[in-house]
């Protein structure tokens, strides 16, 4: 991988400050446990239209399951998730681009340097590019591209706070990249909200869902849980889907780990998780429309066509 030449970078992996845990903070030394039911999704906050300069935008947040114990420690026991998405487009293609009868979609997923316990660089690394490709396949299936000839659309996602890959007490090397799965599911949902906010034609709302096969209590047996937080479980396999509920279609599926014969069950549960996050997506989109609708009468044109209130007499 090429080095980042534009910034003064810290030595690779060498400067993480030591974090001390104390025996009198027993909460920190115990793995956080899942307090919600196996088929229960975490609470979601989603709002559209937060970036005025973009054609469409959305913000997604999963707050931590329980408030951090008042140990006075700076190390949070469980992660929350914060994602912003901006959509630019449809916009004209660059000068040197070839003619395209369809909308050219490009996606960028970037973790903020401070998003995860392990610090990220300023340049997108392989895993971030990988997430971008997954997101692009998920969105390509919903966008009606032939309505936008000669134009491009850019979906930019910034992960402000990412899911942990595992419980920090197990050390860095134990993380299996499980956090990426949840992040992708949430990226799909937030990107769908931002696309609708931008007014880009879609065949349906697409929502992402995750399910994981986890080791049961005390390491015995296996169970399928929806919307896993990797810090709370020992994950053996996980599955992300991008699901269109009203068409009953899947535009993207990503499975990782060894699910054995419960592969199909895992996919079904991931679809269930996607259906759950869709309920929030629908409400957020409707709310975004209402907010937009309130603004219009101020311009002096409550109804009667598009943006009449902004009329400028240019007849000379």
């Amino acid at each position: 991988m090429q080095a980042d030449r534009r910034r003064i970078n810290a030595p690779a992996g060498g400067t993480a400050p030591p974090t001390f845990t104390f025996a009198d903070h027993p909460d920190l030394l115990r793995r956080p446990t899942r307090t919600r039911k196996p088929d229960e999704h975490r609470k979601i906050f989603l709002r559209t239209g937060i970036v005025p300069s973009a054609s469409g935008s959305a913000y997604y947040e999963v707050p931590p399951a329980k408030p951090a114990p008042s140990t006075g420690s700076l190390v949070p026991t469980s992660s929350s998730l914060k994602i912003t998405c901006t959509v630019h487009g449809p916009r004209p293609l660059p000068r040197n681009a070839a003619f395209s009868p369809n909308l050219l979609l490009s996606t960028h997923v970037k973790f903020a340097p401070f998003a995860t316990r392990q610090r990220r660089g300023y340049v997108r690394d392989a895993s971030e590019r990988d997430l971008g490709v997954h997101l692009e396949t998920a969105l390509r299936g919903v966008i009606i591209g032939d309505r936008w000839p000669k134009s491009g659309c850019e979906v930019v996602i910034t992960v402000l706070e990412g899911e942990e890959d595992g419980w920090f007490g197990e050390g860095r090397e134990k993380g299996g990249g499980w956090g990426m799965m949840s992040v992708l599911a949430e990226c799909i949902t937030v990107a769908s909200a931002a696309l609708v906010d931008a007014g880009i034609d879609c065949v349906d709302l697409v929502s992402g869902g995750t399910a994981a096969l986890v080791k049961g209590e005390g390491g015995e047996g296996e169970a399928v849980v929806l919307d896993p937080a990797p810090a709370e479980h020992e994950v053996t396999a996980a599955c992300v889907v991008a699901y269109l509920q009203s068409r009953d279609e899947i535009t993207e599926m990503w499975m990782k780990g060894d699910a054995g014969d419960s592969t199909e069950g895992l996919m079904d549960q991931a679809v269930r998780a996607a259906v759950m996050s869709r309920t929030v997506l629908v409400e957020a989109v409707k709310e975004g429309l209402k907010v937009g609708g309130d603004v219009q009468p101020v311009n002096g044109a409550p109804k009667g066509g598009e943006g009449k209130g902004k009329d400028v007499d240019m007849t000379g």
């Binding site: 054609s55 409707k286 240019m314 000379g316």
Partner: protein, 191 residues
């Protein structure tokens, strides 16, 4: 005028009893919404197809020009064969302003409807003129192709060589009221 809000992928009814309108799509036997917005059902006026047309007006206004869209643009460059311009807004009065200008061009033969072989680009447009035009083609990979070959199309605002705002005096001339100098333009008929 119905005030129900549609969401992308929402079922709007079978295609037998509804006619497809803007910003909707057909999948199988049914009609679905493509964007989020208020539903508008226009009753049919023709006897042959009694089905109402369902459409969703874009809350943000039109996003891109289509064929036959009237646009407002600004001339960026001229040469004897064509005038280049940036499309800045859509609609006859520029109702929906674009976030980014779109490149377009008006060829010499598309400037006016009559005596098209005698048209000179330099006597029709100057850099900086604000022009109302109609899209005749999505064009090549770069520019939309526009025409001003109608009375109500052409230059709506122009500045003289001295930099003053000019007023139209005929279908082919603007006059600088300060200096009285006349300059040739393809003037848009005031509407």
């Amino acid at each position: 005028m119905a005030s129900t809000i549609a969401l992308p992928g929402q079922l709007l009814g079978p295609t037998k009893s509804n006619t497809i309108g803007p910003v909707t799509h057909i999948s199988g036997p049914n009609l679905y919404a493509s964007i989020a917005g208020p539903l508008v059902s226009t009753p049919s006026t023709s006897k042959s197809s009694p089905a109402a047309t369902i459409s969703i007006p874009r809350p943000s206004g039109a996003l891109l020009p289509e064929l036959a869209t009237t646009v407002i643009g600004k001339i960026t460059r001229t040469n004897p064969r064509q005038a280049s311009l940036s499309i800045l807004a859509l609609g006859p009065n520029g109702a929906s302003v674009l976030r980014e200008p779109l490149p377009a061009l008006i060829r010499q033969q598309d400037i006016r409807a009559t005596e098209i072989d005698k048209v000179k680009v330099a006597e029709s447009f100057r850099v900086g003129d604000v022009v109302r035009a109609v899209v005749i083609s999505l064009g090549d990979e770069r520019a939309y192709y526009l025409t001003t070959a109608r009375n109500e199309l052409g230059v709506v605002m122009a500045w003289s060589e001295g930099g003053n705002v000019m007023v139209p005096v005929s279908w082919r001339e603007f006059v600088d009221e300060g200096t009285g100098v006349r300059e040739g333009r393809k003037v848009a008929k005031p509407v």
